[in-house]
């Protein structure tokens, strides 16, 4: 009402005030999320960065040590071994889940009702909590000759194996559990990708005399290239951050043969209270994750 009577400057002022009120409204809607993200993501992140450059001394105050923590971590044989295990595990689980997931997707693709049933059954490990998966697989891997997996292996004339109990097989046994849980996830993404392939291309290829394998190689795979990019990125990140399955299946043992970066960091930080060195270890892992994500994204964009 005042705006209609007032001179132009006042009108723009009123408009500006209105806009500001609208902006304030938007921030109010965002406030709960921003508060939670600040408290539980950004503050911990900032503390992790800061601790990685300090010797953390409760009650005495932290002491700036520059890159010493990073040097200590990188020079530590245990950390280097853990980093190696993490890379082997991440690579193995990524490749394994993709190969198995793709095979499952090709086998179980389609709209028939029995396929839907099989897909649902196969997908169940992915929605099962890791704690349950670990409890279950520790029982399956029971190393006695009449343990569950050893019995199954006995049917086809293999085994018995020590699985988690032997330093030679423990990392592979953990990897198998990761693939068991990860492959169905990849399967579903592949099936979604396959559903997007133009059906008439299959017909055309078949009419040209291409068999199933050539159809796969020349029609389905090229159409699914972006899907591969996503699956690789997700699986690799999943592999790098691995903690719970190791913690519960082997806790790094036997003899350190399955120690990964996160279990080592957890032990350093919460059991030995070396917060600075533990933070430096986490930051290196984060760096690897970010680099991997960025590289994968840029490769995807170029593809």
């Amino acid at each position: 009402m005042t705006a209609t009577l007032a001179a132009p400057p006042a009108r723009t002022q009123a408009a500006r005030r209105g806009r500001r009120r609208r902006h304030l409204g938007a921030w109010l809607w965002l406030a709960p999320a921003l508060l939670l993200f600040a408290l539980f993501k950004f503050v911990p992140m900032a503390r992790a960065i800061s601790m990685s450059f300090h010797e953390v001394r409760p009650y005495l105050g932290d002491r700036w040590v520059g890159l010493d923590n990073y040097r200590a971590v990188l020079g530590d044989d245990a950390f280097r071994a853990a980093a190696g295990h993490t890379i082997v595990l991440a690579l193995g689980e990524t490749i394994g889940s993709i190969v198995v997931g793709l095979a499952l997707a090709l086998l179980l693709e389609g709209t028939a009702r029995h396929l839907w049933f099989v897909r649902t059954a196969v997908f169940l490990p992915t929605v099962t909590a890791m704690a349950v998966v670990a409890a279950l697989w520790r029982i399956i891997y029971h190393p006695a000759p009449d343990g569950a997996l050893n019995s199954v292996l006995g049917w086809i004339g293999l085994g018995p194996g020590q699985f988690l109990d032997s330093p030679h097989t423990s990392l592979w046994s953990v990897m198998a559990v990761g693939i068991w849980r990860g492959a169905p996830y990849d399967m579903m993404i592949f099936i979604a990708g396959l559903a997007g392939v133009d059906r008439t291309l299959y017909e055309a290829a078949a009419a040209d005399g291409a068999g199933p394998l050539r159809r796969l190689w020349h029609v389905a795979f090229p159409a699914m290239r972006p899907v591969f990019g996503i699956v690789v990125t997700l699986a690799a990140i999943r592999g790098l951050r691995v903690f719970t399955e190791i913690y519960l299946l082997t806790n790094g043992g036997p003899n350190g043969s399955t120690e990964v970066v996160m279990t080592l960091v957890y032990k350093l930080g919460l059991e030995r209270n070396e917060l600075g060195i533990a933070s430096a270890g986490s930051m290196l892992l984060l760096l690897a994750t970010v680099v991997l994500t960025v590289v994968a994204q840029s490769l995807r964009r170029r593809a």
Partner: protein
């Protein structure tokens, strides 16, 4: 010739041999992926004394394992898990939905920066933040509350989940502006529009948030591990480890408790399967 509707065209495989091979493969993959979970179900009702007695064929059915599990306080752990998942989900959905409303339907300076900051946390695995997070939980900045040793400590941090905000923002962007404008002409304010125009339209996305949030919170391990101080605050997931370490408790009890931790997620997944698949593909394809 039958229409080719899959890459390998397995649907067109005919003849007894082809059928047998196909059914054999289906049986194999079901055995490998669902068999262990089925063995958990069957063995929970069997007389399991040691880990070698896992079985797929029911015999000698009994509820003994569950009785002993209840004596071990499993109901308490189950209740804790349900409180954490219920409270966490409620918080996560409310926070994500209100944030998405601002991000999708309002333009204000800084909107892109906020979205970027929130999405950048998707690259930040929670395991990496575990140690500083435990320090923050022991003394939450600004309010100076100690959440260690409380179920609230397991609930509040899961409220901040970028994936949920992303899914909701993308969905709300597609709500036609006309719906909102019509309501505004009728004199409805932001709150009214949000509650009675936007939210009802977003019901499918709420289903996606529900199933993904449930699975994510039910799967939480490191957060409860950091927060719980004694058995009173254990969730089922944490309890499985102490049950395993307890020599007095047999494998049967562990299996029964694991089954209790498995069932809710399977039931929720089967009930909301369609939403789950939609979220899986949309979230993943869009990165």
């Amino acid at each position: 010739m039958r229409q080719l509707d899959t890459a390998l065209g397995l649907g067109a495989v005919r003849g007894p041999l082809g059928r047998i091979i196909k059914i054999g493969l289906y049986a194999l993959v079901v055995f490998v992926f669902a068999g262990p979970l089925l063995a958990l179900l069957v063995s929970a009702f069997g007389r399991v004394t040691d880990p070698t007695k896992l079985s797929l064929i029911p015999h000698d059915l009994t509820l003994d394992n569950f009785r002993t599990a209840v004596d071990q306080g499993v109901l308490r752990y189950l209740a804790n898990s349900l409180i954490v998942v219920g409270g966490g989900l409620l918080l996560q959905i409310s926070v994500s939905v209100t944030a998405a409303y601002a991000l999708a339907r309002k333009s204000f300076p800084g909107v892109r920066l906020v979205l970027f900051l929130i999405l950048s946390t998707m690259m930040l695995p929670e395991e990496i933040l575990a140690i500083p997070l435990s320090l923050v939980l022991a003394d939450v900045p600004v309010v100076h509350v100690n959440l260690v040793g409380t179920l609230a400590g397991m609930i509040v941090p899961v409220g901040a989940w970028a994936f949920a905000i992303l899914v909701m923002t993308e969905f709300m962007r597609d709500v036609p502006i006309e719906l909102e404008e019509a309501a505004r002409l009728d004199g409805a304010g932001d709150l009214r529009i949000f509650w009675s125009v936007i939210l009802p339209v977003c019901r499918p996305a709420l289903g996606v948030l529900g199933i993904f949030g449930f699975t994510m919170i039910w799967d939480q391990y490191i957060l409860p591990l950091l927060v719980a101080q004694d058995a009173d605050q254990f969730t089922l997931a944490l309890a499985l480890r102490s049950l395993r370490a307890d020599e007095q408790v047999g494998t049967g009890v562990l299996i029964a408790s694991a089954l209790l931790a498995l069932l809710p997620s399977v039931v929720v997944f089967l009930a909301l399967q369609r939403q789950f698949m939609r979220g899986l593909t949309s979230g993943a394809i869009k990165g």
